[in-house]
Each structure stands twice: as structure tokens, then as C-alpha cells.
């Protein structure tokens, strides 16, 4: 009798292991995890080199991790249990979650160009004086002779020649593990900065001014939602965006127009200006900042009533939901995306490279995106270089240097500028000095969310384009 017990007790442990061992080998491998936004490890191919240097072992370990049968179910169970454990005693209103995301900002995210027709714009070449980086050699050989340099070009190249190469502080200065705070149904990133990174950001903006020639330079640092919604202790000292942003502005040249987005957003904190499950602002938030921007730069802002408005199809659970490990509290209230754009006719293009000779059409707001990330509706996400030309023929051009926060702002700018050029330094390197003079840019707007101050990767990409 006792023997019998022991047999099935052993079987009860070994059979599940064997079952899973077989499932691993038998079930087809999943290719991507949409929520994590990464491809999953496939069954590794054998090679002697990989075996010797340990790569093969590493890939197999990753395979077992990524292809665990019922993985999503296990992850959700784990999240449910740790969430419950965190709130079990009912003592705490907030949850502070260790960030589960890779900190690097990668290449940005966009809706892609699949299914779009490649367009050519041979005329563009004449507007661009020099073949810029990213252009292949056969394209440059087709380029017509360089036009006479304009006065502005002369200015900037002279200035640039006298400038030493801009460098950022070492990676150590950017080391900060900012957790995610969950308060009620809202998730927030915690802001963090230091004197070193503040100064480095200011130096980048100052350099932008130095190379921009006659163009006006405008800087707008947008606070992240914790500036308004986190409990007071999470926004003190170096975490206090209300103090840090003005401090950084004080380090930036007086010739740069600085926009106080914090004060513009503050009166509206009871409105839907930030997503609850995503790290972005909503377009309504972007609108209030746009009003302040228009005022600071002497433009008349379009009013929301005069805009065409609507809601992007479908709701979404954003990045903070994913990074926090799918916290349950966020699931009950998904976000949605309202949009507005001025009632003018706009042609938008995404360019393959800085010569702007080839590209694809692009919508200012893509209202029917099937992507999980609904924020990509705005200018179809992050592209290296794009341009939106409006029917307002006022002959004014703006270059917007941005990461994804800028995307929601772009539609409003088509009200005030005939040409809105949008540049995301992560995906393309171009000589900003040349670009600004070649395209007769009137205003250069560098718009960032405050987390960029601590993001060496983005700043480094921009620095490359400033040093070009």
C-alpha cells in the first residue's frame, strides 16, 4: 500500500515535467510577443562555433524561457499574485513597481511603410545643397551641381568650423533606475535628474542655437505625468520637474525661446491630458502646450473648436501597462485616443533619407490604425524625417526635433506653418546646420518630454546630427 503511494507521488512530480519537456519540443514556436514588443527566441540552429563560445547554450536557455508552454498564462498568474501580495493588507494606496522594460529607446516606433507606394521627388534635390549622410553613393552621383552657397549657409559653416565637437557625459551619469508608480488606475514614470545631465541637455540646446544661423530656436520641455499626479514626496528635490525644468532653462542661452509647458498644463490637470497606462500625453495635453508655444513664438493658436476632431478606433493599454508587468489595476480602465487637426489641406511625406528624393505619403492623424499602440495615430509614429505641407501658403517653415512626445503636437503646427519638417534623430543622421539653411527654416523647435534629459541614447543621436 505504501509502495503504491510512493509511486504516484513520484509520478505526480515527474509527469508534469515530462509533459512540459514534450510540449516544448512538440508545440510550434511562437514568433513574437506583441505585448513585450519583441521577437521570441526560435529553436537555435546548431553550429560548432556557437557551441564552443556558449552562444548555443544561451540561445537554448532563451528558447526555454520564451517558448514556455502557456507562458502568457503563467506571466499573468505571477503578476496577479504579486499585485495581490503588494496590496493584500490594504495599507497602501500606491504600488511602486520595479520597471521591467529595457531602458533603451531603440529606434522609435512607427506604423511602417508596408503596402505604401514609393514616391520620388526629384525636385527636392535642388533644395538640398549637399548630399547628406544616409544617402547612397549612386544617388549622390545623380545630384545636380551644387548651387551657390547662400549667405546663411556661409554663416553657419563658419560658425560650425569654430565649434569643437560636442560630447555627452559618460553613461554612468545616466544610470538611474526609475520605477513605475501606480496610484489608483494611473501609472506614472518617476522623474529623476542630476546637475550633470541637466547641464548636458542645456549644452545640446545651446549647440543647436549655435548652428541654426538666423533661424529662431525654441525649446519646450514637457513634464511627464508624475509632475502633477504623483504624491508630493515623489516630486521633491531632483525629482521635482517644476523646479528642474526652469533650472535647465536658466542654463540655456537667452537667444533661445523657452516655452513653459508646465504652467500651461497645470490648470488642466483635471482634464484628460495624460494617458493613464501609457507614458505619453494625450493630444489635449499637447494642445495646451501648443497654445503656450504659439504665444511664446508670436503665432496665433488655432482653437480646438475650429479643428476637425474625433476618436481613434479602439482603446489601448500602453507602455506603462507593459513595463509594470501588466498590473491588474490598469486593465480595468484602458486608454483611448482623441484627436484634433486644423481644417486645412495637408500633404504629408515620410522620407527615406535626408536628400528627400524618395518617400511615402503619411497621414497627419491615422484614425483607423490596427496597431496596439494607438498613440501611433499621430503622424504615423516616429520616422527619421517627414514633412507636412499645408495649404496655408504663408511661406513659413519650422523644423521640429523630437521624440514621440512631439508627434501629438505636429497636427496643430500645420495651422501656423506652410512647411512642418519633423526630425527624429534616432533614425537618421543629417547635418542639421545644412538642413536648416538649405530649407530656409524660420523656426527650429526642440520639443522633449522631461525624461529625455536622462536619456543618453536620444541625446547622443542628436549630438551626431549637430556635429555633422
Amino acid at each position: 500500500m505504501k509502495q503504491h503511494h510512493e509511486d504516484w507521488m513520484i509520478a505526480a512530480f515527474i509527469l508534469p515535467l515530462l509533459l512540459f519537456a514534450c510540449l516544448y519540443l512538440w508545440l510550434p514556436a511562437q514568433s513574437v510577443s506583441r505585448l513585450e514588443k519583441r521577437s521570441l527566441q526560435q529553436r537555435p540552429a546548431f553550429s560548432l562555433t556557437a557551441l564552443w563560445n556558449g552562444d548555443l547554450a544561451g540561445q537554448w536557455e532563451q528558447y526555454y524561457t520564451d517558448q514556455l508552454p502557456f507562458r502568457q498564462l503563467f506571466i499573468q498568474t505571477d503578476q496577479l499574485l504579486s499585485s495581490r501580495a503588494q496590496t493584500l493588507l490594504g495599507l497602501n494606496q500606491e504600488q511602486f513597481v520595479h520597471r521591467k522594460a529595457d531602458a533603451d529607446l531603440g529606434k522609435g516606433e512607427n506604423l511602417g511603410t508596408q503596402g505604401k507606394t514609393l514616391l520620388s521627388f526629384p525636385d527636392e534635390i535642388s533644395a538640398s545643397s549637399a548630399p547628406a549622410a544616409g544617402m547612397s553613393s549612386d544617388e549622390s552621383s545623380q545630384a545636380p551641381p551644387e548651387p551657390e552657397p547662400t549667405e546663411a549657409t556661409q554663416d553657419t559653416t563658419d560658425t560650425q568650423a569654430s565649434l569643437t565637437e560636442l560630447t555627452l557625459p559618460d553613461e554612468d551619469a545616466y544610470k538611474a533606475d526609475n520605477g513605475i508608480l501606480i496610484s489608483g488606475d494611473r501609472a506614472m514614470e518617476i522623474f529623476y535628474s542630476s546637475d550633470t545631465v541637466d547641464q548636458a541637455y542645456a549644452a545640446v540646446v545651446n549647440r543647436l542655437k549655435d548652428i541654426s544661423g538666423k533661424a529662431r530656436v525654441i525649446n519646450m520641455l514637457v513634464p511627464i505625468s508624475s509632475a502633477f499626479y504623483a504624491p508630493a514626496d515623489y516630486r521633491s528635490g531632483s525629482s521635482d520637474q517644476a523646479t528642474v525644468i526652469p533650472q535647465i532653462y536658466s542654463l540655456i542661452s537667452d537667444q533661445v525661446i523657452k516655452v513653459d509647458a508646465y504652467s500651461a498644463l497645470l490648470p488642466h490637470i483635471n482634464e484628460y491630458i495624460y494617458f493613464r497606462t501609457d507614458h505619453h500625453w494625450t493630444q489635449l495635453g499637447a494642445y495646451y502646450a501648443y497654445q503656450a508655444l504659439a504665444e511664446a513664438s508670436g503665432n496665433t493658436p488655432v482653437s480646438l473648436e475650429d479643428c476637425i476632431s474625433g476618436q481613434v478606433d479602439g482603446s489601448f493599454l500602453g507602455t506603462l501597462y507593459a513595463w509594470s508587468g501588466q498590473v491588474q489595476a490598469l486593465q480595468s480602465e484602458p486608454d483611448y485616443v482623441d484627436y484634433w487637426y486644423p481644417d486645412v489641406s495637408v500633404q504629408g511625406y515620410i522620407y527615406n533619407d535626408s536628400s528627400m528624393t524618395e518617400g511615402y505619403s503619411c497621414e497627419l492623424v491615422k484614425t483607423d490604425t490596427s496597431a496596439d499602440n494607438k498613440y501611433l495615430a499621430f503622424i504615423e509614429g516616429d520616422h527619421g524625417l517627414s514633412r507636412f505641407s499645408s495649404s496655408h501658403q504663408n511661406n513659413r517653415s519650422i523644423l521640429v526635433i523630437k521624440e514621440s512626445y512631439g508627434n501629438a503636437l505636429i497636427p496643430f503646427l500645420t495651422q501656423n506653418y506652410e512647411n512642418v519638417y519633423v526630425f527624429d534623430p534616432r533614425q537618421m543622421t543629417l547635418s542639421l546646420a545644412d538642413f536648416i539653411s538649405d530649407h530656409q527654416i524660420d523656426d527650429v523647435l526642440m520639443v522633449n518630454y522631461s525624461q529625455i534629459i536622462g536619456n543618453r541614447e536620444w541625446l547622443n543621436s542628436l549630438t551626431e546630427s549637430l556635429n555633422e
Binding site: 507521488m9 512540459f20 513585450e36 524561457t65 506571466i75 505571477d78 495599507l91 531603440g106 533606475d177 514626496d233
Partner: protein, 490 residues
């Protein structure tokens, strides 16, 4: 491969157990275990296996030379020195050369070259196993192993190769020939393995991000005193649960294949003194230093202070190649001396909770030295622990504490000998509790086999417990594999 990874649990282990089940004799199983151990060790980097095989073969060859009938005492002595020096040189080369070069660089003002080699996994453990073998042989406590394969299995035995316990050859060899491979022992092994796995992945791995968030922060500007203490307590719990969990897994795995492995931890945080703490913490290492360094140097008979100083510097240095580890060793040296010379009697007379609190406070302070290799950071952290100009608690600190209260309480309970107590208590009542927690020290080795007499509910309960732990651990391992990116990484 970590024994707490999914590939081990669902790839390596089931096939090993299945093969072991099909090969019932110890001899055949030994072959299987050797093959499995070599595969296990070669997995991450086959080059490391070559080092392990070379070192073991070197020691094995010397042991055979020492055993030759023609070997004089002098020759045995020289051979033993040769083996010990050889092992220490290899260990020093891999583990301490960059530290030594750094110190030389500081002293003579040159910039030390960056070494490109890494510590092979488990070298600190298996080289100590080899040292104990050769020293025991020299002292004629054991006979040499003539079979190369059996000797390699001793060095590379997969449950123990990467993180101990440092099992003595004598214990191992005895079981290599004859061991109890009953089903009851297999069940006991399963229980013990799952308990260890749970300690590691359900508790220690969850404490780790909290500790790093507090103690590993780039600056302590917003850190309150309460949160600093919380972080340090977390590290105290984490390091015990992680290491003892690993030992539990190793012991459990050994038991699944019929081996009895000596205990490595015996609830150190309820120790009654620092001396007692070190009888309960990483027992196989402290007994190694006792038997092979302290006693041969003269123990407490000749220049005890000097012996202790050496032993504790070495203990510190063994844990890592940096000054803070040496300091950590000397910190214990100091308290052990103080206990011996000053307050031994007071501690023994004090109530149990007072002496345990005293011990655990000293251990916690020690972990602070252990954590920070940068003394400047350690200083700042100590300032944040004690300075009255730092707030006692702030809102983020309170959130961190309240968020993790359940985890901390659960972890602390696991550090207490509750299950063995329960076991003893039930035993007195005539109920035979299957050994859930299974540290066999408290009730002695006679009861090693699982007793399933009495109620029929026990087997069912125990199986349910196994499956629950397996499920929770799998969920936790899946959860820790969850790695979202901001943008698509396709």
C-alpha cells in the same frame, strides 16, 4: 545552466530522472551521473570543462603518485604541496589577478591591463573540493580513488558543482558504492528541491529588485532612514534565501539520485551568538577552513588570535576579490574575539530572543559591508541609516515598505525554524509529518526517509504541495522572463 532555470527544470531534469529510473543499479547510475554532470558543466562554455578536467586530472594523478608504495614521506609532502600550490595558483589567476593587478597599479602608479578572462563557474567550490581531497589523502584519512571517472564525478557532480555544498570526498565516495535509492528518498529529494527553488525564485528573486532599488541607487538623496534599513533587511533576507535555497536544491537533487549531502545551513538567523552563527551559516565552508587552515595552524592551542585572523581574512577573500570582502571577514574576526574574551557569558545568560536579536543585528551590519565594494557609497548609506538629519520616513519609502510587507514577513518566517518545530511537535502527538522543510539536523539522520504512516491524507497533501510549488515557481520564472520593450524589437 542554473539549477533554478526553466531549461534545467523542464529540459535537463526530467530526462535525467527518467534515465535514472531506467538504470536502477548505482554503478549504471554513476555512469549516467558522470555523463549528465559533464554535459551540465560544459553547457555554458566547453572551455571551462577543459579546465575542470585538467585540474581534476592533475590532482588525481598526484594522488596516485602519493599512493605509490615507493613514495617516501618527504615525497608525499612535496607532492601534496605541489597539488595545493597548483590549485591555489589557478584559483588566484582566475579569481584574484585583476584585484591584485589593480592594487599593484595603485601602489606603483600604472594603469593595470584589463583582463579578458572570467571566473569559470564553480571554480571556488570545486577547487576547494579538490583541496580537501588531497589534504585528506596526505593526512591518510582516506584512500585514493583509482578510477578516474569516479574522481571526475566527485569534482563535477552537477547538483553541487556550481555553488556547493563543498562535500568531502569520504562522504561522497562511500555513497558512490552503496546508497539508498529508495522511492521514499526520491520523494524527500523532490520536496527539498522544490522548497529550495521556492526560496530562490519566489522570495529571494523578488527581494533582489527592491534591494537594488534602495541600495543600488545612483544616489541616496531621497532615501529616508526607514527605507535604508528596509533595504538592508531585504538584503539580509535575500542573501540567506538565495544561498540556502540553492543549497536546498543541491541537497534535494542529490537525494533524488540517492546521495545524502551534509547540510549547509541551519537557520543561522536564530543563532545565539556570532560563534553560533558561523556554525549555522555555510557550514561546509566554515568547516573547511576549520579543518584545513585553523586546526593545522594550531587552532586554539597555539597563537589562536593569529590563526583566527588568517582564517577570517581568507573567509572574506573567498567570497570575492575586493577589500570590502576582506573587511567583512575581519568584521567577524572582531566580533568572534570580543565574544571569546569579553561577553561570552552575558550572551549565554541572556534570553533567547535577546541573543538572537544581537546575532542577527551583527549579521545585518556585516551584509552592509558585503554589499558595497565602494566605501564611499557604504559611508553614504550608513549616514542615511543613522543620521538624524535624514527623515525617518517619507512617502516613497512608506510605499516601498507597505508594498513589500507581505513578501518580507513571508521571507522572515522562512528564516525561522518553524517547520522543524512543527514536525517535532506533531511527532510527539503521534503524527508523522512528511518532511516538508527537511533540514535533517534538528531531528537527526535516523529519520531521513519519508514517513508516510498514519493518515492517508498525507501523501495527497504532500503531492498537492509539490504541484503548488512547481506551479508558483514556473509562474515566477515566466514572470521574470517578461521583458517588454518600448519599441518593437523584431
Amino acid at each position: 545552466m542554473l539549477i533554478s532555470s526553466l531549461i534545467f527544470i523542464y529540459g535537463f531534469l526530467p530526462f535525467c530522472l527518467l534515465a535514472a529510473w531506467m538504470l536502477p543499479s548505482p554503478r549504471q547510475q554513476n555512469r549516467l551521473l558522470l555523463l549528465a554532470s559533464l554535459l551540465f558543466y560544459a553547457w555554458g562554455s566547453p572551455a571551462d570543462l577543459i579546465l575542470l578536467l585538467c585540474l581534476s586530472s592533475f590532482v588525481w594523478a598526484i594522488s596516485l603518485l602519493m599512493d605509490l608504495p615507493s613514495s617516501s614521506e618527504r615525497r608525499r609532502h612535496l607532492l601534496c604541496i605541489c597539488a595545493v600550490v597548483g590549485l591555489l595558483i589557478v584559483l588566484g589567476l582566475f579569481k584574484y589577478s585583476s584585484f591584485i593587478l589593480r592594487q599593484l597599479g595603485l601602489a606603483f602608479g600604472f594603469s593595470p591591463p584589463q583582463l579578458r578572462w572570467f571566473l569559470p563557474p564553480g571554480l571556488s567550490f570545486y577547487s576547494f573540493r579538490l583541496l580537501s581531497y588531497i589534504l585528506d589523502l596526505y593526512k591518510k584519512r582516506i584512500r585514493p580513488q583509482y578510477r578516474w571517472s569516479a574522481f571526475i564525478l566527485y569534482t563535477a557532480f552537477f547538483p553541487q558543482v556550481t555553488a556547493g555544498p563543498i562535500m568531502r570526498y569520504e562522504q561522497f565516495n562511500r555513497q558512490l558504492q552503496h546508497r539508498d535509492m529508495s522511492q521514499a528518498k526520491l520523494i524527500a529529494g523532490i520536496s527539498r528541491f522544490l522548497v529550495g527553488l521556492s526560496k530562490k525564485v519566489l522570495l529571494a528573486d523578488r527581494l533582489s529588485p527592491i534591494v537594488n532599488q534602495i541600495m543600488g541607487a545612483a544616489s541616496f538623496n531621497n532615501l529616508s532612514r526607514g527605507e535604508a534599513l528596509w533595504g538592508l533587511i531585504g538584503f539580509t533576507l535575500q542573501i540567506y534565501l538565495d544561498f540556502s535555497g540553492y543549497s536546498d536544491m543541491a541537497i534535494g537533487l542529490g537525494r533524488m539520485f540517492g546521495f545524502s549531502t551534509p547540510e549547509n545551513f541551519n537557520y543561522p538567523y536564530v543563532a545565539r551568538s556570532v560563534t553560533d552563527f558561523w556554525r549555522r551559516w555555510h557550514i561546509s565552508l566554515s568547516s573547511f577552513f576549520r579543518d584545513y587552515v585553523y586546526i593545522p595552524l594550531g587552532g586554539n592551542r597555539r597563537h589562536q588570535l593569529l590563526n583566527l585572523l588568517l582564517v577570517w581574512s581568507l573567509t572574506g577573500l573567498w567570497h570575492g576579490a575586493d577589500w570590502n570582502f576582506i573587511l567583512w571577514g575581519l568584521y567577524y574576526f572582531l566580533f568572534l574575539i570580543l565574544e571569546k574574551k569579553l561577553w561570552k557569558e552575558q550572551i549565554e545568560a541572556a534570553p533567547r530572543w535577546v541573543s538572537s536579536l544581537y546575532t542577527v543585528s551583527i549579521a545585518t551590519g556585516g551584509w552592509l559591508l558585503f554589499y558595497f565594494s565602494d566605501f564611499r557609497l557604504a559611508g553614504q548609506f550608513i549616514y542615511h541609516l543613522f543620521s538624524f538629519s535624514v527623515p525617518l520616513i517619507n512617502d516613497p519609502g512608506l510605499t516601498t515598505i507597505l508594498n513589500n510587507l507581505v513578501l518580507y514577513v513571508a521571507s522572515a518566517l522562512v528564516c525561522l525554524p518553524l517547520l522543524p518545530r512543527l514536525e517535532v511537535w506533531l511527532h510527539k502527538k503521534g503524527v508523522y509529518l512528511p518532511r516538508l522543510a527537511l533540514p535533517s539536523i534538528t531531528t537527526g539522520p535516523r529519520q531521513l526517509s519519508v514517513q508516510l504512516g498514519g493518515s492517508r491524507a498525507w501523501p495527497l497533501l504532500l503531492t498537492g504541495w509539490h504541484l503548488l510549488l512547481l506551479f508558483l515557481c514556473t509562474a515566477a520564472l515566466a514572470g521574470s522572463s517578461y521583458q517588454p520593450f518600448l519599441y518593437f524589437k523584431f
